[in-house]
Amino acid sequence: MNTETIAPREYQIYSGDDLRTNVLEISMGPQHPSTHGVFRMDVSLDGETVVKLKPVFGYLHRNHEKIAETTSYLGSMPYTDRLDYFCSMTNNWAYALAVEKMAGLAVPERAEYIRVIMAELTRLQNHASLVGFLTNDLGASGTPLLYAIREREHILDLFEWASGARMMCNYMRFGGVRNDLPSGWLAQCKKVVDDFPAFMDEFETLLTGNEIILSRCQNVGVLPRDLAINASITGPCLRASGVDYDIRKVDKYGVYDRFDFKVPLGSVGDCYDRFMIRLLEMRESVKILKQALATIPEGPVNDSKARNFRPKPAEAYGRIEGPKGELGFYLVSDGTPKPHRYHVRPPSFINLTVLEDMCLGQKIADAVIILGSIDIVLGEVDR
């Protein structure tokens, strides 16, 4: 061994400063598990950072509006269930409200209360499931989601009992609801509503302070207040950006002016705000439900004359605060039994407008959470 050649060596350490990356275009979906259905994102990535994102949809398009224009007004009531299949009760209500506005139909008191109860139960199960799916996207595979689905099942049992179907309820009619509540239903509903806060306490203890949720949701996908208004964002996404706009308070449709509830608002407009707004809104829904269940009057639930009617030539735009945002129906009648124009204003379709704005500059893994926090249902986006 020649010891003269043994000496310390110098090494060059590669800094990586001259490393060049190419922009990579990825088609995320339509079979990606995070897209909540057949939805595709055309993403351009610089490293892991999103530089461009175009949402692509229409895979479930069946031209709902055209089909509704070939049938009677009542004929498309069951089809509205299939728009946002998580919230068929609120879909029914929005459509019934637009027709009632156009034809000038009155709704009996008891039916208004039943509608409020059904809509708030729908909001509870939608928000609970959304939070479950969002944590699923964050990697908490299944556990919070199954807790939410377990609670949702109690509510779907109530829907089935009243309407005959868990999800495709087809329960509302023009001028009321299809049938009165079965005996014992209100007592069971009270029990479900009284038990719900315990689930929420458990849920919030598990999730709100969780370090992974905090670090992955806070300051991710910030939606500025002005952009949210200009881009017609509605529902929890809008209120997470700090805009006080809840159609239950603004329009006071139904009997919402009789209940005492608050509108939770976010301050930053990030994913964490959108997540928390849902949890807080559930608390307010429980409040409304308790008041409605305590004060629901007796009486008729529909106007039997309002079947198969033929509205006068008129047009109307009716809207409600659905769990996902403003759900509206624009109807034009030409005096025939079929609508001349039937248009749905789907909240999750329009809320997707700002998906690119929220994702730019974020990591690709965060795009999944941002999409999850918008809360889309493809049955409604594609129609």
């Binding site: 229409g58 398009h61 208004i229 881009a231 603004v250 204003r345």
Partner: protein, 196 residues
């Protein structure tokens, strides 16, 4: 109900459709009216809620009118068709609305002014009206099909749209579908063909 008189006074070419309580805005003025409605402190219609295309076919109605001499004469009344885009504007700042504005165009060459530069929320909905009605929105930043696929040729929400007759398979066709389906059935072999 929002008072529309100040708008009509400021823009004399804007017409009022009393039946629908809507403003019919000429296309050259659409951007200006929308911008004014959005920024005027009395209105502040900062939120474009709903955008919908409406297609109306021309109507020909024949009515028989009795002449003074006792004979009947047929009178034909024609109503031209039209293509409309309807916007429902609300105010989030002042919590009022809606103001309905309409842009009316022809069925033959439908083109209106896009309001997406004023209301970002109209972006996808105008794309939808372009996709399903074939209405051109001038000034739209990204006018592509949104629900139908890019290669699709026709506009399915138009009232005179005829769907292709192989559009669906039904195991037990009836009525109009049966008549269409018959065209696709294999021809039954006749006795003369069998003899030869």
């Amino acid at each position: 109900m929002i008072d529309l008189a100040p708008i009509l006074a400021k823009f004399p070419t804007v017409k009022h459709d009393a039946a629908a309580n809507a403003l019919i805005v000429p296309q050259a003025l659409a951007l200006e009216v929308a911008k004014w409605l959005r920024d005027d402190p009395a209105y502040r219609m900062d939120y474009a809620s709903n955008v919908a295309g409406v297609d109306t076919l021309p109507v020909e109605k024949k009515t028989k009118v009795k002449q003074p001499d006792g004979t009947e004469r047929e009178v034909v009344t024609k109503k031209p068709g039209s293509m409309e885009v309807v916007y429902h504007l609300y105010s989030m700042a002042l919590k009022h609305g809606p103001i309905t504005i309409k842009q009316v165009t022809t069925r033959e060459n439908p083109a209106v002014t896009s309001l997406t530069p004023i209301y970002r929320g109209a972006e996808f909905q105008e794309r939808e009206a372009f996709d399903l009605f074939g209405i051109q929105f001038e000034g739209h930043p990204d006018l592509r099909r949104i629900l139908m696929w890019d290669e699709f040729k026709d506009f399915p929400m138009r009232k005179d749209y005829v769907e292709p007759d192989d559009y669906e398979y039904e195991p037990t066709p009836h009525d109009a579908v049966l008549a269409k389906a018959k065209a696709h059935y294999p021809k039954a072999s006749t006795s003369t063909e069998a003899a030869s």
